[in-house]
Each structure stands twice: as C-alpha cells, then as structure tokens.
C-alpha cells in the first residue's frame, strides 16, 4: 500500500526526470532521490517519457482508414497534376528553337510570332517535358541571360541515355560545363551551356542509393577532394571543407608530433595532413587527424600562440577498452571508468600535452548524447549562462540541453552550432578547470558576416577576415571567456 512518503519520493524522481521540455533538469536531485529506495523504477520512468499522447493513436488510425478507403475506391479518379514549367527568355528565340530541336530533340507544340518578328510565346516538348520560351522583352523586364550576364537557374532534364544526349548537345554547339560522370546519389549526369546562356543538367538515373550509402560515398569523395584541386566549382562552393564539420577542436599544444602518435595508438586516429616548420622538422605548424567521424586540428604552441589544451568528449563503443589503451599509450588516469546516472559510462584521462579526454559511451536507451559526433569539444566558464548566450548571439548556436544544480551551477549543457555540438559546464565562480581555454575552428557560410556578429556579441578581434593560401577565408576572435575561435569559409580546394 502506498504511503505518503513513498509517493512523494517517487514524484520527486519523476519531476526531476520529466521537467517541462527545455527546462532545466536537476539530475543531482534525481540521483539523490533515486539512491534512497526507488532506484528500480528509474528506468521505467525514463521509458514512460516517450509515452505517446493518448489521442494520437486513434487520430492516425482514422487518417489511415481514410487513406486506405481512398486507395481501394479512387483508383480511376481523374488526377489534377501540379506541374512547374521553365519559361526561358532568350535573345534570338527563333534560333534557340532550332538549336533545341537539334540538340535536345525538341518538338514545337505551339508558337506565336509577333508582328515585329519576335517570338511572343512558344511551347516545346522535350522527351515529354514541357519548356516555354520567348524572345526577350526588355520593355516588360523579361530579360535573357545575354542581357543579364548569365542565369542562376539551371534546367535539369532526365533523359534515357545521358551519354548519347550529351554527344548530341555538344555536336549542336553547347559547351561542356561539367563532363558526364557517375554521381554519388545514383545518377549519371553532366552540365552543358547552350549558346543562349542557359545551363542544362542532363541526367540518367542509374541506381537507387540508400541514404547510408550516399553518406559513405560523400565521405569517401571528400577525402579525395583536396588532392583533386578545383575539379568542380560546385564542390568548392561548399563552405565546409571536405571531411570537416561546423566545429573542429584546434589543439595548440606542446609536443604535437608525440600527441599524434598518442591518438593514433590510443584512439585509432588517422593522420590526414601534416605541415612541418621548414628547417625544424620536429615542429608541426599544422596537422589534421580524424578520429571516428570527427576531425581534429593540432599545432605546436609557440610564443605567439601559447598552449590551449582542451577537454574533449570521446564517444566510443567500449569505454573500458579504449580507456585502457589510452593509459597504455601514456595517458595519466584522471577519473576511472564508471557508470554515470545521467546516461553514460565513461572515465577521464589526461594526455602528455595536457588535453583531457572523457571517454564514454551512452547508456543504451539514453538520448542525451544522440547529437554527438565521435569527438565533442567541452568548454568551461565561470559564468556558463553567459557563455551559452554568447554562443547563441555570436555564432547562431542553439541550446539543446541544460542541467542545473540546485545552487545555480551548470554541470552539463549542450549548444548546437551548425551540424556540431559544443558541450560546456561551469559553476558560480572559479572552479578547478575554469582556467582551461580552448581553441576552436568554425566553418560557416560567410566568415565576414560572422566575424562582425561575433564582435557585436562581445568577442575581441585576433585577426580580421583574410583569404588564406590554403583555400579558406578566415578570421579569428577571442570570446569573453578566453577561448579562441577561428572562423572560416572554405572557398576552394587547393592541392598541397
């Protein structure tokens, strides 16, 4: 039989685990309550958090019943087809029509010529696709690519045999923008510019590619990309360098070369790039390693850039094994591996260059680290709330999780920036790690804009935006908490 104390205690746990969405959850209190007598129901309560809303099942069922009955009765019902048709403005529509007949096998469905000789409207059929076109009429602001200096709109045309269509297009006088090639998403396609200023993508679907396979191919391609410079202007227009994410920890540390050996042995890191200082082979000016799906950058500290070792959260499948390997590879023990009630098992080591690694795996069923990549940077601040606000204002970050201690400290928070997570913690006033300051590299679509935004949010300038020889445009700022941020936009791939 339930007594008051028990039902009160249970509700304490439930309140701590539930909280209104987005509101702080006091894990510490939940843990304390759980340790009292009610630990076994902890998991049950966590599972109940996913309970569907009571009327949802019935609502969806009604919707499915409606659809099912439509599917069985309305087979022959006439369908209104929504379609979008490109309407091309060209200088010399008559010549363009002849060109499209030759190059694309177009047939003219209708054509209206104006008394002044211009084509007022024409409709073409290209293998079942409809295209409208007309001469340009500057008087009504209907201008051709020749007048505007190009067209931002590209026409994508699915054809049965892209190689054959491409030959025909080029033979008729089109120029090759991108030769025909197999694409990672399962099409074989190429791009061609016609003499009237329009670019056509000719494409044949070859295979259905699952999202997983697509990701695998993109990853494989982006690793090759730096070695095949500027093959495609499109790839270069991607603001994030191939293989990178929005946020990359940049470790400026002593003994960078030894550190690379360490992460290779301990965490199976792959070295992707290394630039040594000319004349001083043991000094690394810049290197890049990949751990799991995350890139890390590293450089030897120097008087201009004093060391900023970081705290990194390393997500693995088997924390005990990886922890043991890290210690074997020379890391010192900081916190042994234990189960944490907030949903993970992990422990912390410190490497010889001063970085701290929290090696963890999420508890099965825990959602807390769902957005984490293999390596997530972790920042400390005496005023964590202000740091969160700064990340939001300066970099468009979005707070996705915050745990608060009863006294006001934040043991763990997560801010999403682009496709990455930055974790952070801090208490009221200085704590044991608040003096740790990190360096991070941020890939964004517009370095100049973000630099200004960061300064407006309270950052101090380190270097204004400038084009770099390695193909990035980058800038540097220091946040009010002493962390260094390099803001960059990848402009083009450059071979080293």
């Amino acid at each position: 039989m339930a007594n008051n104390t028990q039902s009160e205690q249970l509700d304490k746990i439930i309140s701590a685990l539930l909280g209104p969405p987005g509101a702080p959850v006091s894990r510490a209190e939940a843990a304390r309550a759980a340790n009292m007598t009610l630990a076994p129901v902890f998991e049950l309560i966590r599972d109940l958090r996913d309970l569907p809303r009571p009327n949802f099942k019935a609502r969806l069922k009604a919707d499915l019943e409606r659809r099912a009955s439509m599917a069985s009765t309305a087979k022959a019902a006439p369908e209104f087809r929504v379609s979008a048709t490109p309407y091309l403005s060209v200088r010399g529509a008559s010549a363009a029509i002849s060109f499209y007949e030759k190059a694309l096998g177009a047939t003219v469905l209708s054509r209206i010529d104006q008394p002044d000789g211009r084509v007022g409207h024409a409709e073409l059929n290209i293998g079942g696709a409809k295209i409208y076109l007309a001469d340009e009429f500057p008087e009504i602001d209907f201008r051709s690519p020749q007048s505007l200096g190009g067209s931002p709109v590209r026409v994508h045309l699915d054809v049965p045999d892209v190689d054959e269509s491409a030959r025909r297009m080029v033979a008729a006088g089109a120029t090759v923008v991108r030769p025909v090639a197999d694409q990672f998403y399962g099409d074989r396609s190429g791009q061609f510019r016609d003499p009237f200023g329009y670019t056509w993508t000719l494409s044949t679907h070859k295979e259905d590619v699952s999202p997983e396979e697509m990701r695998r191919r993109v990853a494989a391609e982006s690793q090759r990309a730096p070695k095949a410079p500027a093959a495609s202007p499109e790839k270069a227009a991607n603001p994030v360098r191939g293989g990178f994410h929005t946020v990359t920890p940049y470790l400026i540390i002593p003994h960078a070369a030894d550190w690379i050996d360490f992460v290779t042995r301990a965490f199976g890191a792959e070295e992707r790039f290394r630039a040594k200082r000319p004349g001083a082979e043991d000094i690394i000016m810049h290197a890049e390693v990949k751990i799991g799906d995350s890139m890390l950058e590293v450089a030897d500290a120097n008087p201009e850039y004093p060391p900023t070792p970081s705290t990194l959260l390393l997500r693995v499948n088997d924390p005990d094994a990886v922890y043991a390997r890290a210690v074997e590879a020379g890391a010192t023990v900081f916190d042994p591996v234990t189960d944490h009630d907030y949903g993970s098992r992990g422990g912390t080591v410190k490497d010889a260059s001063g970085n701290r690694w929290h090696i963890f795996t999420p508890t099965p069923g825990s959602n807390l680290f769902a957005a984490f990549g293999s390596v997530t940077p972790h920042l400390y601040a005496t005023e964590p709330v202000r740091l969160i606000e700064f990340l939001e204002k300066a970099f468009g970050g979005e707070e996705i999780y915050r745990a608060e201690m009863p006294g006001g400290g934040i043991p763990h928070a997560q801010v999403r920036i682009g496709d990455s997570i930055v974790a952070l913690a801090g208490g009221r006033g200085p704590g044991p790690y608040t003096s740790m300051q990190s360096t991070l590299h941020l890939y964004v679509p517009d370095t100049d804009a973000l630099y200004v935004q960061a300064l407006a949010a309270g950052a101090a300038p380190i270097q204004p935006p400038a084009d770099q020889p390695y193909g990035d445009r980058s800038a540097g700022v220091r946040d009010p908490f002493g962390n260094r941020w390099f803001i960059a936009t990848h402009m083009k791939d450059v071979a080293f």
């Binding site: 249970l10 509700d11 996913d50 569907p52 990549g373 496709d419 679509p445």
Partner: protein, 191 residues
C-alpha cells in the same frame, strides 16, 4: 498483446495487400513499436508523431511492394522510420546551410529488445485502471504538473501522487511478471 507468429503476420500482410482496409490490423499490431522506435530518436513529440504518421502512410502506400522474405514486418517499418529520420536530419542541416554530414549515430539506441520493451510498456499503460491511466497519460504524455492534473480531475495533489505511485507499481509488477514468465519459456521458438 503477444507478438503474432510469423504465419499470422504473413496472412495479415497478404490480406492488407489485397484490401487496404485491412491495413489497420497491421497498424494496431505495430503502432507502439514504431512510436517507441521513433520517439527515442527525435527531440519532441510533434516530430515523433509526424514521423510515425509518415511511416504508416508510407507503409500503406507501398504495401504492395513489400515482399515477405522471412524478416518480420516490424523491421521493414523500422527501415522506413530510419530513412524518414535521416531525411529529416538532412533537411535540417541543409536549412542551416551547412554541409552534408553524418547524422547522429544511433547505433547505441538501435536495440530491438529495448524498443520492444518500451512498446509493451505503452500497451500496459492502456490496461491500467482508468484513473491511474489518466494520471500517467497526463503526467508523461501531456507533460502536466501534479497541480494541473489535480485541478483537472478534481482530486487533491496528494491523491494524484498516490494514483501515480500505484500506477507505477502496477506497471513495474507487470514488467517483472513478464520477465519471469519469459525466463521459464523454452529457448527454441522457431516455427
């Protein structure tokens, strides 16, 4: 609700392929499972409901193309769900103007046993005495506070907490009975 054996499931699929109206039987069988699978991978209930709806609508629309090859129907639904979640994620990253990148790795959560046990729990909630069920639904699915629930059902806060306590005890009891029963069952169950 015990899981239907493979033969029953096959008949049910065949029936629904002939007559879409029979699809609701498959829906009743799998709703909790799919929702349990989806809810853990998304941040809020609206998204979970959207994706769950998408999964069953997709499954209904493409049921004719489903070929029975021995894998349970649920794994087909999970695959549709994974793709829908991945799409959503890709869409979100594209909207933010960032590059195509790996979506969050969910291998740690892809435990079918855990999904199954959450689905059972959801069904168990439906079998609770009405007042207990109402409290659990309001508290967990609708995210209401004890005070709000008390106001709504016209009981004291203490009484609501008692109902909540008894409901959790009942749910816990049935979880334990089930795992004991399961432990006694013979291991071989291929048929």
């Amino acid at each position: 609700m015990p899981p239907k054996d493979a033969h029953d499931e096959r008949l049910l699929i065949a029936a629904a392929q002939k007559d879409p109206a029979r699809f609701t039987e498959l829906y009743e069988e799998h709703f909790e499972r799919v929702y349990a699978f989806v809810a853990r991978r998304l941040r809020n209930r609206d998204d979970a409901e959207d994706v769950t709806s998408e999964v069953f609508r997709d499954a209904l629309a493409n049921l004719k193309s489903f070929e029975y090859r021995g894998a349970p129907f649920a794994s087909w639904l999970y695959r549709i769900a994974s793709n829908a979640i991945a799409d959503r994620w890709r869409h979100a990253t594209r909207e933010q103007g960032t590059a195509l990148a790996d979506p969050p790795d969910d291998s740690a959560q892809a435990n079918p046993e855990a999904v199954e046990s959450r689905a059972r729990l959801f069904r168990q909630v439906a079998t609770l005495p009405a007042d207990q069920r109402r409290v659990i639904e309001m508290r967990f699915a609708e995210g209401r506070s004890i005070a709000e629930i008390a106001r709504q059902i016209g009981r004291s806060s203490g009484a609501v907490k008692q109902l909540q306590f008894r409901a959790i005890q009942n749910l816990r009891g049935s979880v334990e009975t089930r795992s004991r029963a399961k432990a006694k069952k013979p291991v071989s169950k291929n048929g």
